[in-house]
């Protein structure tokens, strides 16, 4: 038996199939992954993501330290409540983890992956030497992610009028604090929605109230198809400690300016940038296959680069429930053309697109 979130019994009650996920007993699906996927694209769904690790950062050097720890620059968080997506890199320019950082009224809040929890906490502790910072894990908080076009309205029906108005006014990638609750307009689905970070003891009643409002429980299976349609990376699949953020479609999350800011891995990823321009570093692309069959993680991609045959690999692949055909993320040589996937020994042509397939329920690539 693994770790259980405060909502474990709620998952059992809702008929979930439970699987091990990074040491946690988590719902992979309730009744049908496809129905759960469509519920989020068309109405509203709730995910229990309490297995994810919340870390609060405080102290007089909190900002300076995060500017050193993260490839993105928390200086962009120029107002309380703003959020930023960033990689946390190692010296060799690999991705230790990807995370969201929020600026709080006091200090900062990070949400990191569950499978990397111990590694991340060790890494942060090690990198904090010489800085006046406190690093506090928050296992006392649960996270309910409520996403879909109707999600914000449904959550707001549960809040008092003042808080409801504040949540309705919340911009994307913004968060607010209300007593012990932390409410953020962030997520992993490509739909509007909220992440509700609440005390563990508040989570079961909140779950019940959301279900009463018609919000459907959504398992990790649909979470994966939703994030992949949104072109969002999954740590350990699309990138890890051996992969440059530039080879993982994370270039936009690296703040190169000011050039004087020294973040961990900076020198190496600066070299990666030059390598990529010269075609020496691969890149992460979206793939589309409109014929029958499903692109899967690990499948080989064969392509042409300057008249030579080269190879890449699918890092995440699925059937897209919204588009009704297969999509994938793949790492392929920079400059690739004529890409084909090796499907059971047959080379099937695939189309390269920007790694963003579905936003707000609609197809976004040509």
């Amino acid at each position: 038996m693994g770790y259980q979130t405060p909502l474990y019994q709620k998952h059992i009650d809702a008929g979930a199939r439970i699987v091990d996920f990074g040491g946690w007993d988590m719902p992979i699906q309730y009744q049908s992954l496809l129905e759960e996927h469509h519920a989020v694209r068309q109405h509203a769904g709730v995910f229990d993501v309490s297995h994810m690790t919340i870390v609060d950062i405080d102290g007089s050097d909190a900002k300076a330290w995060l500017q050193y720890l993260l490839a993105n620059d928390v200086d962009k968080l120029n107002e309380v409540g703003r959020a930023l997506y960033s990689g946390m890199l190692n010296e060799s320019g690999g991705v230790v983890d990807d995370l969201i950082v929020y600026r709080q009224e006091v200090g900062y809040r990070l949400v990191v992956n569950c499978g990397t929890r111990e590694k991340d906490l060790h890494w942060m502790a090690r990198q904090s030497k010489g800085y006046q910072v406190s690093i506090t894990e928050r296992p006392d908080l649960a996270i309910l992610a409520v996403h879909g076009p109707e999600s914000i309205d449904k959550v707001c029906t549960l809040l008092d009028p003042d808080l409801s108005a504040r949540v309705q006014a919340l911009g994307n990638f913004r968060a607010l604090e209300s007593g012990t609750w932390f409410i953020a307009r962030t997520g992993y689905t490509g739909e509007r929605g909220l992440e509700l970070l609440v005390p563990n003891e508040d989570a079961p009643a909140l779950w019940d109230q959301l279900l009463t409002q018609g919000v459907k429980p959504i398992g990790l299976g649909a979470r994966d198809t939703l994030r992949l349609e949104a072109g969002m990376n999954l740590y350990g699949h699309d990138m890890d400690e051996t992969v440059s953020p530039l080879a993982a479609n994370m270039a936009q999350t690296i703040a190169w300016e000011p050039a004087s800011r020294n973040f961990i891995g900076r020198a190496t990823v600066e070299q990666h940038r030059i390598d990529q321009t010269n075609g020496l570093l691969p890149y992460l692309t979206g793939l589309v296959m409109e014929e029958r069959g499903v692109l899967r993680e690990g499948l080989r991609i064969v392509c042409d680069v300057n008249g030579q045959e080269r190879e890449g690999v699918i890092t995440s692949g699925t059937f897209s429930p919204t588009l009704k055909h297969s999509i994938a993320l793949a790492r392929i040589p920079t400059g690739s053309t004529n890409c084909r996937v090796d499907l059971r020994g047959k080379l099937i042509p695939v189309r390269l697109v920007k790694p963003n397939f579905v936003r707000f329920g609609k197809k976004v690539f040509e």
């Binding site: 699906q29 049908s32 496809l34 299976g221 029958r292 059937f319 429930p321």
Partner: protein
């Protein structure tokens, strides 16, 4: 809980077989198999008229989560395929023993049926 109808025979690779009155057999995949696969999105069916031997790959089922080979439980000739599954593969999830059948086979060696598992034997290996 998965269901294991008593009137069927089963292969350890999760196919079911029903002997019809005319001596042909109908095959499909078990309730347990469709549960493991989850939502099925594509099915590649065998060709009508193909002559197959037991344990040969005859079909591929793709769900959102996984791809799975389907093996011939017995030898013979494929005399019918369930073409409705091409456009409605989810039928296998909703009715694995009914409308979700895969194909019909004219067995070349009916004694092979005796080598298959009965419902109890199959239920045991699914535990």
């Amino acid at each position: 809980m998965s269901s294991f109808p008593e009137d069927l025979k089963y292969a350890a690779t999760h196919e079911w077989v029903r002997l019809e009155d005319d001596g042909t057999v109908t095959i499909g995949i078990s309730d347990h198999a469709q549960e493991l696969l989850g939502d099925i999105v594509f099915i590649e069916l065998p060709k009508e008229g193909a002559v197959i031997t037991a344990k040969q790959e005859i079909s591929v089922v793709e769900s959102v989560k996984a791809a799975s080979d389907i093996y011939a439980p017995i030898s013979g000739e494929i005399i019918a395929i369930n073409e409705d599954l091409v456009d409605a593969p989810e039928t296998v999830n909703s009715s694995p023993y009914g409308d979700g059948w895969f194909c019909k086979i004219l067995p070349s060696d009916p004694t092979e049926l005796e080598e298959l598992l009965d419902a109890n034997g199959y239920a045991e290996i699914c535990e």
